[in-house]
Symmetry: C2
DNA sequence: GGATAGTAGAGAGTGCCGCTATCCATTCAG
DNA sequence: CTGAATGGATAGCGGCACTCTCTACTATCC
């Protein structure tokens, strides 16, 4: 309960309607918003500041659905402080070109491409120069997944539901994907490798 | 540089060989380990304590490759404090049954299944009761991705490289997947939705 | 009417985590 | 011999997500 007061102070929850100077009324919309905040923090792992940004992106009106998705994506993808490897940037640009993107891409323009370049930079820094080879198969699998995501969002009716489903579907979806990916690894490991011993030490 | 001393103290890096009482020698293996630690922290978002667990799992010998993967997975999937919704647990069990798992699954047994159940619990708590419908398409896409992951690991030669590739491929792969998924969303959004306005407010 | 309990609002305090700064003894270079 | 540098250990710091406390007020029960 003190946490709620804290969230109110931080502007994550709208103030209730004061029925008297010491009595505020909160309706279902407040509860829904609180649950959303908790979901972003618990499952999405977002900081309070990021949650504020996400909520701001959600609450901003007068945008097309496409630009709304962009705003939400920026808000839920906070950039890391990793410095980018030029080779990793090339990896990302090559990936875009293979996808038919002809114009030059500035990876620092969006948090999402920055995240991708940062991950590949770190991979390179520990000797995994060919991690970029995974991008194409990843995209292939993700086409199926993204299609399911879009279908999931599309069956929402109201504007608020669509936007919320974007946020929830992306963030909770990330966690679900993580978990199912590990399960898939375990299954492949069981089927292919079984109890075979490890290769001998170097 | 003070950070390295800190990591040494925390047992994340092995002590160097003392050539004299105030001179320690660190070789390439130390540098490699340091880079790995930074990767786990920066990209994987792991806490120092989790990193210690991961390193312990890596360094433990005398295990089969399959059980090693299990140990690594447990270490990199720290459980959240979300309380599980019984319905979400059923969702997970149903998913396993559809995958041909006949025996009853205890989701609290592994951090991975716990993560999945927790994510579905949070989804339910904010009214997304049918998020579980995404599990099957997710798995379908992830089969392609997991296959690429396994191929990536399989081309490593030495035992240490295989284990490191497990950790790196899983954690950096998570981040890469996240980024590429957002890109796929944006692409679908551009193609399907374009600049169509949002549906009218509720 | 008076005691009790509860609430809003705001500021200060707390606990944890990931470093960072300081100190000292030693030791090696010049 | 002097000065810079290193290893090892201890203490301190800054940020973040709360949590506690205090005050002023009110609503309710007796």
């Amino acid at each position: 309960m003190p946490t709620i007061k804290y969230y109110l102070r931080e502007g994550l929850l709208p103030a209730g309607v004061l029925t008297s100077p010491n009595q505020a009324h909160y309706d279902d919309e407040h509860v829904r918003r609180l649950r959303l905040v908790r979901a972003l923090v618990d499952v999405g792992g977002l900081s309070i500041a990021s949650v504020r940004e996400v909520l701001a992106a959600i609450d901003t009106r007068d945008e097309s659905l496409h630009s709304k998705l962009g705003a939400v994506q920026e808000a839920i993808s906070q950039p890391s402080s990793v410095e980018l490897d030029p080779l990793a940037i090339e990896d990302v640009q090559g990936f875009f070109e293979r996808q038919g993107e002809t114009e030059c891409v500035d990876v620092t323009e969006s948090n999402v491409t920055h995240m991708l370049a940062a991950a590949l930079s770190v991979a390179r820094s520990i000797g995994h120069d060919h991690f970029r080879d995974l991008l194409d198969p990843y995209l292939e699998g993700l086409k199926i997944i993204a299609q399911a995501d879009v279908d999931y969002i599309a069956r929402r009716g109201s504007r608020d539901d669509v936007i919320e489903a974007m946020v929830v579907g992306t963030l909770i979806g990330d966690t679900v994907l993580k978990a199912v990916r590990r399960l898939a690894h375990a299954q492949v490991s069981r089927d292919v490798i079984g109890d075979a011993p490890l290769p001998p030490p170097s």
